[in-house]
Point group: C2
Chain length 368, copies 2
DNA sequence: TTGTATGCGTTATCAT
DNA sequence: ATGATAACGCATACAA
């Protein structure tokens, strides 16, 4: 109740106040026409202090650490805040306290629906903790990522979330020098920059290959995007294939972003090459869905004529016909834990596990 | 070349510098073990100035407005920046200049893929202009939107992007008092808060209804989400229906977020109610896709037995079987223009059209 | 073209 | 529990 109502209180009265009287030093309304325009300077802590008959620092404390201020004083401050319509200036606050309450988040893409849930979870969790998110999209190039992080650091974020574990040396240097907590997400390594919350793409490749091999499939078609992490899943698969032996496979490379259309085209390409396939393995559910549609359009039935496996367990995966066998990752959890890890570390709370493997689940559905 | 290389130059050398020598006032490396730790204070403009033998303000100018500084001086500054590993502090800069170069963006959802392209376009365009994006998700409640904007304003953004045109009075007051440019997006009104870039949902409703009526359809099933803008499209349709007369329709309300599963369930609900339908109209492509899948699963063929129309022209709409007849909106353009409008206004450039109707296109495909 | 003085709005530190 | 003073790092305004 209090938390929710503070903003309301904060902003409710300034407009009226401005129209009728002024608490502002050097900011008096000069005449009617000036009064009609917007005030030159929004109210500051000092204005609130004057209205409350207190010192600015007491007002600051009443707002930030009400516990160490006499309740009566806090009440007076709240009243003055209402009266003046005070809005804190976090630029000034951040400068003085060296705490921006800003978290920078860098993801390779946002329009491929893979990272969205994670981003959403990050903002949600951060909002709860009183932080805001600065979101940047880096593409899949380590260079642009470094450039982006460089400009991002000028905001003096209290922490940063990076997607993946492969960064340019330049970027690593920046981060190290900035001396802020980092969470790498969506991948696993024994040597994170700082903290990490992710899962093993190689193991996923293994698991998918193992599942299909155990079902008796031997002739595979691969539809694969060229990003780092898809490459790791690929590697895991290849290892499983080699261990098995007598496996044939053929691949098509799908440019990013992976769309349904490209899934259809990918399968068309595989089929038109004349190969015969027991199963099609796709580096994302979107591609898998496209493959299924294209297969059906060609009169093939899935999984009888050809099995299809995806990755991601996107929201549609369980509802297509046939539903898609895929790998599920708790994408929301990645975001929540990343945000929690950062906020905890920033606030000096103990961080027990700085590397978290959230694992994955193979969801067996109808398509394979 | 220069733009791209500046961050690289900025950050390249600080680490080495810190290990070997110090330009920092009161920040000298005391001993080997201290040197191993991170420096207490990152280099400031003053440190760069000292390294370059110039005054801080000259360094500031060389960095921000190199045009008004002698090229030789600029070179000296760049060198000093490299040497010190200087990273500007935009909290301080924003405080002093009253320009944060921050744009706040508030959207109702990010995981429904409708707003993602717009958000992506906003960040891209803003990055080009030297701004960063502060992204917040408000849900579909005007109250939480107001609360979010309130906390957002404490960052002193130079501008703000709001989704939709229906905001609480409290929020309007906040924005008015903050006296910053606002762009409302994804809707149309003759009375925007400030600037606006969107399209008419009512006209879309009209267009969809007209299209189906002209095809001879009279018995409609509606699958609709309860958000404001969907409501406007609904209203437009109803008007067209009434004008036509002799139209029957039945609706199911779909809770947000609209998923494929809910599309399937929605159609199931309509069908199980015993009604007969010429066409199913959905408030999003995702629902339409779900409806198509469910219809096919029930042995109905689309569009022969029942036509289906969606909204949004999401990337999959053209690739499903059958492909989805829908309304296309240039979502990326909304973002680009919103960002451009804001940046222009912030920078004092002339803004000719503060209300832009980007229109829409009915994409006739196979499903209807 | 470069420099000096000052202020931006807040919090840390030390005092009372 | 409250206050005084001094940063925080930069840019504006004006001077040279």
């Amino acid at each position: 109740m209090i938390c929710i109502s503070i903003p309301a209180i904060l902003f409710f009265c300034w407009f009226h106040t401005m129209m009728s009287q002024s608490f502002m030093k050097g900011n008096a309304v000069k005449n009617a026409s000036d009064a009609k325009k917007m005030p030159v300077r929004p109210p500051t802590l000092e204005d609130v202090a004057r209205a409350a008959g207190l010192s600015p620092i007491t007002v600051s404390r009443a707002l930030n650490t009400p516990g160490i201020v006499r309740p009566k004083t806090v009440a007076k401050v709240k009243e003055a805040v209402q009266l003046t319509g005070y809005i804190p200036n976090m630029l000034a606050g951040g400068l003085a306290s060296r705490r921006s309450r800003l978290i920078a988040v860098v993801v390779p893409q946002i329009n491929n629906s893979m990272f969205i849930d994670t981003i959403q979870a990050i903002t949600d969790e951060l909002a709860l903790r009183g932080y805001h998110m600065l979101l940047c999209v880096s593409g899949y190039s380590a260079e642009t990522e470094a450039d982006i992080v460089a400009t991002l650091l000028s905001r003096r974020p209290d922490g940063i979330v990076l997607t993946g574990i492969h960064h340019s040396n330049e970027l690593k240097k920046c981060i190290l020098n900035a001396a802020i907590p980092v969470v790498e997400i969506w991948d696993l390594t024994p040597t994170p920059l700082d903290m990490l919350i992710g899962f093993s793409h190689e193991k996923i490749g293994h698991a998918v290959a193992g599942y299909l091999l155990q079902k008796g499939h031997r002739r595979f078609g691969l539809m694969w995007t060229p990003d780092q992490r898809a490459g790791l899943r690929h590697k895991g698969m290849m290892e499983a294939f080699e261990r098995q032996g007598s496996v044939t496979f053929q691949e098509v490379s799908i440019p990013l972003p992976a769309t349904l259309r490209r899934g259809r085209e990918g399968l068309a390409q595989l089929m038109d090459s004349g190969g015969a396939f027991d199963a099609i393995i796709c580096s994302s559910d979107t591609l898998a869905h496209g493959a299924i549609i294209e297969a059906q359009d060609r009169g093939l039935s899935v999984p009888e004529d050809v099995a299809v496996v995806g990755f991601g367990d996107l929201d549609f995966a369980g509802c297509t016909a046939p539903s898609i066998t895929t790998i599920s990752i708790d994408r929301g959890r990645i975001g929540r834990e990343a945000a929690t890890l950062l906020a905890d570390k920033i606030e000096g709370l103990p961080v027990v596990n700085n590397v978290v493997d959230i694992g994955f689940t193979l969801i067996e559905r109808d398509s394979a």
